[in-house]
Amino acid sequence: MPTPKIEYGILAPVLVVLAAAVLAVLVEAFVSRRYRYVVQTTLSFAAIALGLFTVILNKDVSGRFAEGSVAVDGVTIVLQGTILIFALLGLLLIAERGFQSFTAQASTLPGSADEQRALASGLQQTEVFPLTLFAVGGALLFPAANDLITLFVALEVLSLPLYLMAGLSQRRRLLSQEAGLKYFLLGAFSSAFFLFGSAFLYGYAGTTTFDGIKLQITTSPGNDLFLLVGLAMLTVGLLFKVSAAPFHSWTPDVYQGAPTPITAFMAAVTKVAAFGAFLRIFYTTIGGMVWTWRPIIIAISILTMAIGTIIAIAQKDVKRVLAYSAIAHSGFLLTGIVAFNKSGVGATLLYLLTYGFTTLGTFAIVTLVRDAGGEVTDLNRWSGLGKRSPLIAGIFTLFLLALAGIPLTSGFVGKFAIFSAAYESGNISVVIAGVLASAVAAFFYIRIVVLMYFNDPQEDGTSVVIPSPVTAITIGVCAVATLVLGVFPQPVINAVNSLAMFVAG
């Protein structure tokens, strides 16, 4: 038996981040409380930056590594770069100390003397940093996985820290814990489906590698029962992760209950990672069965857009509106899967890039609107914000317009690319549904804008706090990216399209 070969250099982005996560656990154990925050933030940012550097070093790599279990190609490079950029911005929000977003000690009872003591002694939540790094490590591996085992392990490394992070909120702790519980139970439920599907795919192909499954599909035509069962259940697991209907019901609850910086991180990073894996599996592994899966994905895409946009209209909480908007965007992104052509890959990657910046920026602004009790997420209390703090309201408007897909914002560029890819492939139904859903969605985005500018401010203590540098940087970067990608997108489009190639089968 030859010794297995691991290409450490090419896997470096994943390895660096995971090594830093392990190191961060040691920091939690040995560094005294006073210095932990400084050490943890330094370590996390350094790890993400180093990861980004190694991704850039890999930019010309294309092939299968680690005994064929990881595929690093143009698509992986773009996705890993995107994930690391969003992780960096998300970490900036998490590192914000002024808002006390995270409970000092997650194990203390809400409202107990222990909690008061932990608060009074100025304890800082720093365990969130290793958890974030683990999640980022899993997210980096997830779209690169070329083997069912790697895919499953990456999925869990990505998900398990997020379950805990969702329950860490300092204010409204019961709500936050409940979000953690729901996310965990439904996530574990879906990963059981994912696993059972993997078992049947393995039974069908006799191997767990994507290449083996692909080969089996191309060499033995016909719909094998094992293949169909396996594929259906694997898809359920993936659809849950991207919060597509009818597996979306966890999204609003978790987005609302989780601490807002975590919501921002989760909304951007997990969406990129999950759609990355989605792309690889549907475009390469089971690309030979496109006539089988395309009608199903079309139906799910249309359903997801419809549910996301229609239910969002009735929401009264800004975080829930954004959660339903995230669901609708999953529907739009699924049209990129439906397209199943060369431009579909590039369009999906571009959409993920534009969407991530916008959603991170939106949630960053949600952390700024506060009263004495913490964040104000009730939409009615946002009225008149435009008169009170025009700059923040203006930037928020920019993000909302980008989410709606108005021209001259990044959202339009992404939507245009993804719908034209689907149109090119001849799937008109999904394009029509997408345009209709965008029109309906524009209604509730504009409604928030109207609320901010044309209603009178309420005198109930709601105010926009002055952001500290870390949050300000995040908002600034996201706003600039949203504008630049909207006005002058061509260099980025070219770069993404030139890289958007899967490794040859």
Partner: protein, 119 residues
């Protein structure tokens, strides 16, 4: 050489170790009798009467049990490795060393954070 000879040898070593430990403990250990010594179980819970709170286990068991499960299950990876480590050469040893190192990182975290203390 008969392939079963190494098994016999390791059996003898194990048996000898057990006997030597017991005898050494008997010969060298201090003897201080007290009530706890005379009880049925020196460690663990008393079978009767039920614990306070209607026979429920204290929450401390939860932590210990969880830690046990984690470290217990991680060892599962040692089995396939043990079967083929002679063919994997240096690579296998380095990789397993790294794996055990990460498990120990978790262990030190638990230890430093007081997860192994009962009170």
């Amino acid at each position: 050489m008969n392939p079963y000879v190494p098994i016999l040898v390791i059996g003898a070593i194990g048996f000898g170790f057990a006997i030597i430990s017991v005898v050494a403990g008997y010969l060298t250990g201090p003897r201080r009798y007290n009530r706890a010594k005379a009880e049925a179980y020196e460690c663990g819970i008393e079978p009767t009467p039920p614990a306070a709170g209607g026979g429920r286990f204290p929450i401390k068991y939860f932590l210990t049990a969880m830690l046990f499960i984690i470290f217990d299950i991680e060892i599962v990876f040692l089995y396939p490795w043990a079967v083929s480590f002679d063919q994997l050469g240096l690579f296998g040893i380095v990789e397993m060393f790294l794996f055990i190192l990460t498990v120990f990182v978790a262990y030190t975290y638990v230890w430093r954070r007081g997860g192994l203390e009962w009170d």
